[in-house]
């Protein structure tokens, strides 16, 4: 695959790893947070941590919209589809298996007769509304800024088509706000512990690398925007090491092949038209964060499922033993959580970090829990 394979070239990976090893200061340790779930996934899937020197630690961030969606919001979707037979709930595959309150997921709701349909594109949800005029189609909208423009496009198309039976349950969230939240909810000590961030690549194609200048300045940490291939990540880590060594706190766009200055203006304009900022929104594992999420703009309120169906959100706390908050801030590792692998595992997650394969705990469980337990096998070269 072009523009994928070249960034998975093992020889280049070793070359970058060698440069990282050269430049790290052996007298100190480094801790970088890769914010984005896709980056966590790439780190684990390619076993990249084996190529990093032992004094670099990657702290897995919250950047998976599935992980940070509060249980109470998922319950709203489940409630809609189980109490209203006229509703067709259109959802991405990611959300289907996440357990809500009482362990009821959308998949369970479907088994109980709820009309849950998996979609691959928001356009399919609009099509469902057109094809089923006697039903109410609700798009379960989740995602960071990459996924928001497709939702906006769907709402616009529904409006243009005069569709009265289409609405969205909006859970779109914003990444710069999340970086602020990680830095604010922790102690000064945990803030000092993180040396920098690997910034989200695809989100930046929409909002531009400039969007991270404020948090970089505010928290005095470097942020390097990275693509999702393994060599992109190694490259970004290299740049972070360099900046950390020099005491710099700049935003670097290391994904310039796809991230243009200013991001995607057309996408941003559409989102500005269709969405408005919520005063505050609860994030699983991080608490309530001000101005961190979106709702529909007043002109598009007719497409807001919360208004249409008079949905009442109720916050549900996570399990007492859940250590996701501390894990997200890099204060604990998944293995240090009391319920890791026992009460909390991918089949029965208790907290946000275990909920999707990109959460810190799930990624470690699925791809990395043999470390520290299994004999280290020599790699054949």
């Amino acid at each position: 695959m072009k523009y994928v394979d070249e960034f998975r070239d093992p020889a280049a990976a070793r070359s970058i790893a060698a440069r990282i090893a050269d430049e790290v200061d052996p007298t100190r340790s480094y801790a970088f947070m890769e914010f984005c779930g896709g980056h966590t996934h790439a780190l684990c899937r390619f076993g990249l941590e084996d190529l990093l020197p032992p004094n670099i630690r990657m702290v897995h961030g919250p950047g998976c919209p599935v992980c940070v969606l509060p249980v109470g919001r998922l319950d709203l979707a489940v409630e809609l589809v189980t109490t209203r037979p006229e509703v067709i709930l259109a959802t991405y595959g990611d959300m289907m298996r996440v357990p809500g309150t009482g362990g009821v997921s959308l998949l369970t709701a479907k088994a109980r007769g709820g009309d849950v349909r998996m979609i691959y594109s928001t356009a399919q949800a609009v099509e469902l509304a057109r094809d089923n005029p006697d039903r109410e189609v609700v798009l379960f909208a989740i995602g960071f800024e990459t996924t928001t423009p497709p939702t906006a496009a769907a709402v616009k198309a529904a409006a243009a088509g005069g569709l009265k039976n289409f609405s969205i349950l909006c859970n779109h969230v914003l990444t710069p706000a999340a970086i602020d939240a990680i830095m604010t909810t922790g102690s000064a000590e945990s803030r000092a512990r993180l040396d920098g961030f690997v910034g989200p690549g695809h989100v930046s194609t929409i909002i531009g690398a400039e969007a991270y200048e404020a948090p970089a300045r505010k928290w005095d940490k470097p942020i390097v925007i990275s693509g999702f291939e393994p060599n992109d990540l190694l490259n970004a880590i290299h740049l972070l090491v360099r900046q950390t060594n020099k005491g710099e706190a700049q935003v670097e766009n290391a994904f310039a092949r796809a991230v243009r200055p200013g991001g995607n203006a057309a996408a941003q304009a559409l989102c500005d038209e269709v969405f408005a900022l919520r005063d505050a929104f609860e994030w699983r594992g991080l608490g309530t964060i001000p101005e961190s999420a979106l709702k529909l703009a007043p002109a598009y309120e007719g497409f807001d499922a919360e208004v249409k169906f008079d949905l009442q959100y109720a916050s549900r706390p996570d399990h007492k033993a859940c250590a996701c908050g501390e894990i997200l801030r890099g204060e604990k590792t998944p293995a240090q959580c009391a319920v890791f692998e026992t009460a909390c595992a991918p089949e029965h997650p208790l907290g946000s970090c275990m909920v999707s394969p990109e959460g810190a705990c799930a990624a470690y469980y699925l791809y990395g829990r043999f470390r520290g337990v299994a004999p280290r096998l020599a790699a054949a070269e």
């Binding site: 594109s121 990459t146 989200p200 989100v203 360099r242 290391a254 092949r257 200055p261 559409l270």
Partner: protein
């Protein structure tokens, strides 16, 4: 997060395009991108093209990653903004 892949545009049809990724073809909306041509590579997420891959920047970056620095000072393979 945001699973997206670069895929080659092989056909155009108004606001839509067909992309091809190693033999797999999929329809993609061009609602957010102007001036896309056949042969361009676009980053695709949930059926929408979000950005075009710049072949020159990509080539530079691939070379830099391999360690083939251009003449002169060692280049940082990221843009400092």
């Amino acid at each position: 997060m945001c699973l997206a892949l670069p895929a080659e545009v092989v056909a155009l049809d108004g606001d839509m395009a067909t992309v091809n990724l190693d033999g797999v073809e999929a329809p993609v909306s061009l609602a957010f991108l102007d001036g896309v041509g056949v042969g361009d590579f676009v980053v695709v997420h949930v059926g929408y093209a979000l950005s075009r891959v710049d072949p020159d920047i990509a080539a530079e970056q691939i070379d830099a990653m391999r360690g083939e620095e251009t003449a002169g000072e060692p280049s940082a393979y990221g843009d400092v903004s």
